[in-house]
């Protein structure tokens, strides 16, 4: 039994493995959100907190799916392409869904705090998210951190946390706060995700570099039928196409909601 998925020298097996730290982490996220909503409801004078948004539960499931066996184990130690899928799920899919779980009272509870305002301001969030994506995908950093459970956890958690910052301006709407209008949100997603130079640069290096970028994937126990080169190319394609697709879906939602509001 391990705490977190990390690179390993064992040959891949479809035998289920337990990762206790991941269960604890997912439970903590769920419990934290419930507690936050309860406290906010109590402070707002409500008898009980509103029911949890179903999308939050979906987000929690996505997070768990991305972190735990088999995706987590394959991504952490064997295939760069699955690692990229993990990144998309943890950094780009789970955060907006999890943010839907924050009740308006809970949002209001923290929204006026200067630190939260700074962390979730669009420019700051965009820069921090892209910088984190860049740093955690640098071969030197990934090759070092992914070898340990703690390092692998740091990477996963940094994606989630900065993903929450990144998506906050898009998902969270506060009546008292300056509006981040839909056209700007769409531009934010275009610049920060769909055509992010960081995402595109990394995807390009992964897909077109002469030799595999990451040592721990190149030298990982091979999975029959998948060469290291193909795996890296798939990772590059997934990063650019996946990121753009998620941005497109989010922009579509923003656009249709906006047009509905206008009508």
């Amino acid at each position: 039994m391990q705490f977190w998925c990390s690179a390993t020298t064992r040959a891949w097996t479809w035998t289920w493995q337990a990762y206790v730290g991941i269960w604890i982490f997912v439970l903590l996220v769920a419990a934290g959100m419930v507690a936050w909503n309860r406290v906010a409801a109590r402070r707002a004078g409500m008898a009980s907190s509103p029911p949890m948004h179903p999308l939050f539960v979906v987000g929690l499931l996505v997070l768990w799916l991305a972190l735990d066996w088999p995706i987590g184990a394959l991504g952490a130690g064997y295939l760069a392409s699955v690692h990229m899928l993990q990144f998309l799920l943890i950094g780009l899919v789970a955060p907006p869904l999890l943010l839907r779980g924050i009740s308006p009272q809970a949002q209001a509870l923290v929204a006026d705090h200067p630190l939260i305002q700074r962390l979730t301001s669009p420019i700051f969030a965009l820069v921090v998210f892209n910088a984190t994506v860049l740093v955690t995908h640098l071969p030197a950093v990934a090759d070092t951190l992914m070898r340990s459970q703690l390092g692998s956890m740091v990477i996963d958690v940094s994606w989630l946390v900065t993903g929450l910052f990144f998506w906050w301006p898009v998902v969270v709407e506060l009546p008292r706060r300056a509006k981040f209008p839909p056209p700007l949100r769409m531009l934010y997603l275009i610049g920060g995700l769909m055509f992010s130079p960081v995402m595109f640069g990394l995807a390009g290096f992964l897909a077109y570099s002469e030799t595999p970028m990451y040592g721990f994937y190149e030298l990982a126990p091979p999975i029959p039928g998948i060469s290291s080169r193909d795996d890296h190319q798939a990772a590059g394609a997934l990063m650019s196409v996946g990121g753009a697709t998620i941005a497109f879906i989010a922009m579509s939602v923003i656009f249709f909601r906006w047009s509905k509001t206008d009508q």
Binding site: T9, R10, A11, I123, G191, G201, E210, G215, E218, L219
Partner: protein
């Protein structure tokens, strides 16, 4: 939006610079070692000292025909690897990485290279199986099949560890075979001056193979002569030079903790065959002889205990990184640079040899070991 765009510029530049700096390689610790090695000798492979001569043996190829290794690969850069097709890690990675790099080389350079895979698992690796498995990587790769005894003789001649296989009940299909993890590279002149241990990446092969194909040799030959070696005999039996076993060097790279460290040494048996059956040290709770093996999936550089080592008459025995070595476990205090660690080598015939292993920086280890080996060369 303008502000947003303006603030994105440094991010983009930082990203581009960072990626340009890291290039297309990973940045693990081994990279810096490889870079240092490359700076020292122009190659990313590990220098073998003294060079190995291309062995003259005949085994059966995948078509059932006899294959004389020396004749058939004469005038070619020859990569020789001993492994098995059911290997879960080291073998397919070496073969896949060499194949991937060869595919990208120009025709002339590719044509100058031969990759020969000798199976260490003849029971399962039939010629048909070898042909199919190697063909899935590169159909030009040469697979050779021989008995365990034949292959062990070749390995012995190459100063490599023999095939190690636990007793497997009859009919068992899944088992592992211990074997050396390095690829030997024989140059156009038929000498192997370089070997490529596990951990060598495609980038390293892409760097070295064209140079080998052009007939380039590693520069900066290892320093020779006993001057580089500082052997300190200890105690009453300070008679190392007089006995049959001459220890040219014994080195302990400075360990990071008191938990464990490694001892490397180079010795030569000048008289009759002898057996090194134990190593001990007053400075450590335990000393165990190990061999680096691909092993049982638990670690990539799996260490297999070696109960004893036979040293034939006239043979030079090397305990070097990536091969045989002695693990010193539980130091009473952490050895520091400049100190020496008392070591006792227990031989069946020569008895107990007492010596001092100098504590050295890891960076100096290969140079000192190579110098010691060169000093013992006939």
């Amino acid at each position: 939006m303008l502000r947003l765009r303006v603030r994105l510029v440094p991010l983009t530049l930082a990203g581009a610079l960072a990626l340009a700096a890291c290039g297309t390689r990973g940045g693990d610790a081994r990279d810096s070692d490889a870079a240092a090695a490359a700076a020292a000798n122009g190659f990313r492979g590990v220098i073998t000292a003294p060079p190995r001569e291309k062995p003259d043996f005949t085994l059966t190829d995948v078509n059932g025909a006899p294959f004389n290794f020396r004749q058939a690969t004469a005038g070619k850069v020859t990569l020789l690897f001993f492994g098995y097709t059911h290997c879960p890690d080291v073998c397919p990675l070496h073969v896949a990485n060499v194949a991937a790099v060869l595919r990208k080389l120009p025709f002339e350079e590719r044509e100058a290279v031969r990759f020969v895979f000798v199976t260490t698992d003849p029971a399962r690796d039939t010629p048909e199986r070898l042909k199919e498995w190697l063909g899935s990587f590169d159909p030009t790769f040469i697979g050779l099949h021989g008995s365990v005894e034949e292959v062990n003789r070749i390995l012995y001649g190459l100063r490599m560890p023999p095939i190690q296989q636990a007793d497997v009940p009859a009919g068992t299909a899944e088992y592992e075979v211990g074997h050396a993890a390095q690829v030997l590279a024989f140059g156009l002149d038929g000498l192997s001056r370089l070997e490529y241990p596990f951990g060598i990446r495609q980038d390293d092969w892409a760097h070295d193979l064209p140079k080998l194909a052009r007939g380039e040799l590693p520069t900066g030959a290892p320093p020779s002569g006993p001057g580089a070696v500082d052997l300190k005999p200890l105690g009453e039996r300070a008679d190392v030079p007089a006995v049959a076993i001459r220890v040219a060097v014994a080195l302990v790279p400075q360990p990071a903790t008191t938990t464990e460290g490694a001892l490397y040494l180079v010795l030569r048996n000048n008289l009759a065959e002898d057996t090194l059956y134990a190593v001990s040290s007053e400075a450590a709770q335990r000393a165990e002889m190990h061999e680096t093996m691909p092993g049982d999936h638990k670690t990539m550089g799996h260490m297999m205990p070696v109960p004893e080592v036979v040293v034939r008459a006239g043979e030079t025995l090397q305990f070097v990184p990536g091969g045989r070595h002695v693990m010193l476990l539980g130091f009473s205090s952490r050895p520091v640079l400049g100190e020496s660690v008392p070591i006792r080598l227990h031989f069946r015939r020569a008895g107990e040899l007492i010596l001092a292993a100098n504590v050295v920086p890891y960076a100096d280890l290969e140079r000192l070991l190579a110098a010691a080996a060169a000093s013992l060369a006939p």
